[in-house]
Amino acid sequence: MKALMQDSDNNSLPQPSYTLGPLQSGPPCCDPRPLIRVTDLSLHYGAKAELENVSLDIYQGCITALIGPSGCGKTSFLSALNRLTDMLPGCRISGRIRFNDTDVRNPHLDVRLLRRDIGMIFQKPVPFPLSVRRNIELPLREHGMRRQAEIDAVVKQVLQDVGLWEEVKERLDSPAQALSGGQQQRLCIARALALKPKVLLMDEPCSALDPIASGVVEDLIVRLQERYTIVIVTHNLAQARRIANYAGFFWVRERAGRLIEFGRCQQIFQSPAHSLTASYVNGDRG
């Protein structure tokens, strides 16, 4: 565990580094309420079916892992939750997605506000070609924050939350793209956190990073638990087993991605109901 506490530059993370905000209101994870309810979601790219009839609930304050081999539509599923599918050409969606009693697919919904509440972290870190400070400042200004003092306070806060503050406080105005991979991904997480989201969607956030950086980011994700609701797509079964509360297993059946099984993490990994799930988590398939 000690090894995970060092980032790729072998600096120890600040101790204690918990400057994360107060717990989101709501029951603790062992008696959770569903924050996002997905019913019969189907997704098509042109004529090709990517996802068919996926139904699951995302529980507040929990980490939900979506596992399964490549090409099962897990990333598309995530993109549907924050309407990022609007930007993908030829994408058609059917089914219902309810976030906090709001219909996500309502065409009159203010998508900008939705995406403030549901943040997304991509597989490959995408720091903007701007300074570290500007990376976080830009979305804040976009969403209406004006006073520089307020902005600077948020910038410092979120960088501390992700454990980057000590590493970048001297170079807030230097290019973000000069940071290491792990630092860039943590910056992206900080950037998303600045908007005070309720949900964080993470699409294989560690897969593009080296093992040490990957460990640091994973550590951060665990700390974010209970304060944020997290949906994480991962290929790393060991990682899912380590950090998730709930797990959903996807597989391609009849040429479309489907949700085979969904349930509490222990149940999926130790006593899966479906034989396909059992084969996958035991490494026999996929």
């Binding site: 924050n82 990022l84 930007m87 050409p89 998508v111 900008r112 506000l113 939705l114 995406r115 403030r116 943040g119 997304m120 991509f122 490959k124 995408v126 903007f128 070609p129 701007l130 300074s131 500007r134 830009l138 979305p139 976009e142 969403h143 105005d173 230097s174 290019p175 793209q177 000069a178 992206c188 950037r191 998303a192 908007l195």
Partner: protein
Amino acid sequence: MAKNFLATAMIWLVALLISSVFLYLLSDMLIHGMARLSLAYLVDAPLDAGRSGGIAPIIVATAIIVLIAITAAAPLGLATAVLLTEFTRQKSGFGRFVEHSLDVLASVPSIIFGLFGNAFFCLYLGLGFSLLSGGLTLACMALPILIRTAVEGLRSAPDDYRLAAAALGMTRSAALLHLLLPAAAPALAAGLMLGIGRAGAETAALIFTSGYVDRMPASWFDSGRALSVHIYDLAMNVPGGDASAHAAALVLILLLFAINSLAMGLTRHWQRGRIHSI
């Protein structure tokens, strides 16, 4: 093998031929042009139908025409390019229609632009022979180049930026303003230089739109003579005007070389990738 050797020899010969013709042309302009080139040449007015004196009003007229052309074409071109890359779907009918008509526009010969400019700007819009007519005609000619380079520049900006900006709830306009346009800036600048270069070299389109008058223009409604037109006039209509024409040609070549080299340099800088700190 003999054929291989022959081929190699011929190809080297051709390369040598091309380079020597280029150098010959350049040195010809240089030698004959330098004789008449001086500071006075650049600031004096032409005398004796251009055989003596300088080219000051002509440089001013050229500058105004190019300025008008770029001022008209750049915003329109940028707007069109942004629409084509950011706001239309790949297979959109409207997008393809615009791209097709721009492709056609790019291949229209310059004399046709001259005819069009004369009929539309000079007559229909009533602008007469003026720098404005000439500039607007050149704007139409430069537009396809500006749009092509702007589209290339914007398309080279990684899609990741667009998705990440959207995921953060930013509007497309904000993403454009803060991320995409700055990323495409060197390509846009290079395109601008290419457009300026094309406008400056143009002759046929200007002959019957901005006219022949070689006095210093008082406003953009005045007729004026561009540098290329001046060279043409001296060479064809003014006996004994060769010496002055050489000097004018030298000035034109040097200006265009400078602009094109700037464009090439900007393109190299853009293609080498960039890390900004804004």
